[in-house]
């Protein structure tokens, strides 16, 4: 089947260009699927017994960079065609060309933004940064659809079918696992059984602490976010404030993002005592 790949002559120059476009697209697709897998493994630590956190995270970053490099090559090379070349706007502005091109452009630009955002991580609140980083799932979906429609448009579906599915499946499987609540995975025997993880209940607060939450007669609440990449799971926060922080047996930290007023002191104690300084507190005014 694969032996009869026939190329009808366009200008010879363009054949070479289009082959580079195809090869870089395939490389980028494979790397992107692996990046997603590594990203999920970084976030969850599901292969912790195989290799360390830093190794997986470095792998995720390297794969992401290569995905971008090959993806940008794929887009940029269309500028060099002699027949039916795309202008710069054709590879950077979505929704002015074909729909499948728009998906590719949006996906690539979103991925670029997500990669650049890693650099400013320390300046933004961690949970906000994480939400933005998680938009990579949307970018992934767009680029996958773009890739399959591209393969069909070029008559390559039969050639790429199996390879495409082989690398896509692990990424999809891990995504589904990631979106599944951990207790379902634990019940299915996939992850370790956590101890009876009762959701942290806020304890009754004393009168003295309640006054802490008032300033100029207004209530001030505190929001908690924990930087997963700094947190080393020492568990000191749990010792300081067990009503807000709880380490689960599978290594994840569960915490209350939006604690009741009275838990301020506990949150502050935990943030102060964290050796990695991974706990961020932000005060918000009640309306």
């Amino acid at each position: 089947m694969g032996a009869d790949m026939i190329t009808i002559a366009l200008p010879q120059h363009d054949i070479g260009i289009r082959e580079v476009a195809a090869v870089s697209a395939r490389a980028s697709y494979v790397l992107m699927c692996l990046t997603l897998c590594w990203g999920i493994l970084t976030a969850t630590g599901w292969v912790r017994r195989l290799t360390g956190y830093q190794a997986i995270r470095s792998g995720h970053m390297i794969l992401a960079i290569f995905t971008l490099a090959t993806g940008i090559t794929h887009a940029g090379i269309f500028l060099l065609l002699r027949e039916q070349a795309l202008p710069l706007s054709g590879i950077t502005v979505p929704f002015i060309g074909k729909f499948r091109h728009s998906l590719g452009i949006l996906g690539l630009e979103l991925m670029t933004a997500i990669t650049l955002a890693v650099a400013i991580k320390r300046f933004v609140r961690y949970t906000r940064w994480l939400r933005f980083h998680q938009m990579a799932y949307a970018a992934f979906a767009m680029v996958v659809v773009h890739s399959w429609f591209g393969a069909i448009a070029n008559g390559h579906l039969a050639v790429l079918w199996l390879g495409g599915i082989t690398v896509l499946t692990p990424a999809l499987t891990l995504t589904i696992l990631r979106l599944t609540p951990p207790r379902v995975l634990i019940k299915a025997g996939l992850l370790s059984a956590a101890p009876k993880a009762t959701p942290p209940q806020l304890t009754e607060v004393g009168a003295a602490e309640t006054t802490n939450g008032h300033r100029n007669g207004r209530t001030i609440r505190v929001q908690v976010s924990v930087d997963n990449q700094r947190c080393r799971r020492y568990g000191i926060c749990q010792a300081e404030s067990p009503e807000l922080f709880q380490l689960l047996a599978d290594g994840r930290l569960r915490y209350v993002r939006d604690p009741e007023n009275g838990a301020r002191a506990g949150a502050q104690a935990a943030a102060r005592s964290c050796p990695m300084q991974a706990i961020q507190l932000q005060e918000v005014r009640n309306r």
């Binding site: 089947m1 009869d4 790949m5 026939i6 190329t7 009808i8 002559a9 366009l10 200008p11 010879q12 363009d14 054949i15 289009r18 897998c37 969850t44 630590g45 599901w46 292969v47 912790r48 017994r49 195989l50 065609l81 027949e83 039916q84 069909i152 448009a153 070029n154 008559g155 390559h156 579906l157 039969a158 050639v159 079918w161 199996l162 599915i165 082989t166 499946t169 692990p170 999809l172 499987t173 891990l174 696992l177 025997g189 996939l190 992850l191 370790s192 047996a249 599978d250 290594g251």
Partner: protein
Amino acid sequence: MGAACPAAGIAFASQAEQPAAQSGTLADLDREFLTVIQFANMWEIPMGALAAERGSTQTVRDVGAEINADHTKLDVAVRDMAAKYGHQLPEKPSSSTQSWMNEIESKQGVEFDKAFADRLRAAHGTVFGLIAEVRAGTRNDEIRDFAQQANNIVMKHMTLLESTGQVTSDHGMFSEAAARTTAYPENDLTKSDMLVALVVGLVMAGATLVVVRTFSARGSE
């Protein structure tokens, strides 16, 4: 068995005649050349015949008849050549040429002339480069002769089509990019393709689950 003997004899004789080993074999580009010629025949013969009948001017009808006649000759020649070298020719038009045929067939009058001249001119422009490359670079003497004929014919056809005055640059002077690849059988997925994909998908999903189950912190305290 009896039929195989003369064939073997001929093969032997031709090898003896031409000691240069490369003369008897086809390079990849030579094979591509034969395939492309056959793809061209498969749509230009019927389209030429259609133009000879439906063309709105005498010029278009004459051009259609001539293209039809030339490609019919090329069809015989390319089949001979393919049989001689054991090259498998395609049996049905590629999906892009099929869509051009549908487009041309759907039109009448001047619109028909335009679509016919434009589409055929673009397709000829596309194969012209390949034929020139084969003519210049092939190591096979017979292919070289054949490429020279084909080159002359394609050149003549481009000139004829342009002489109708109906060639515009609507489609470019080359066929659209997607026509470049005519992977055979293109996007057709058979039942077994689906089945294999299903199996591969299940195996990969299973492997992923096994990896997670084995290497997550499960079991360790």
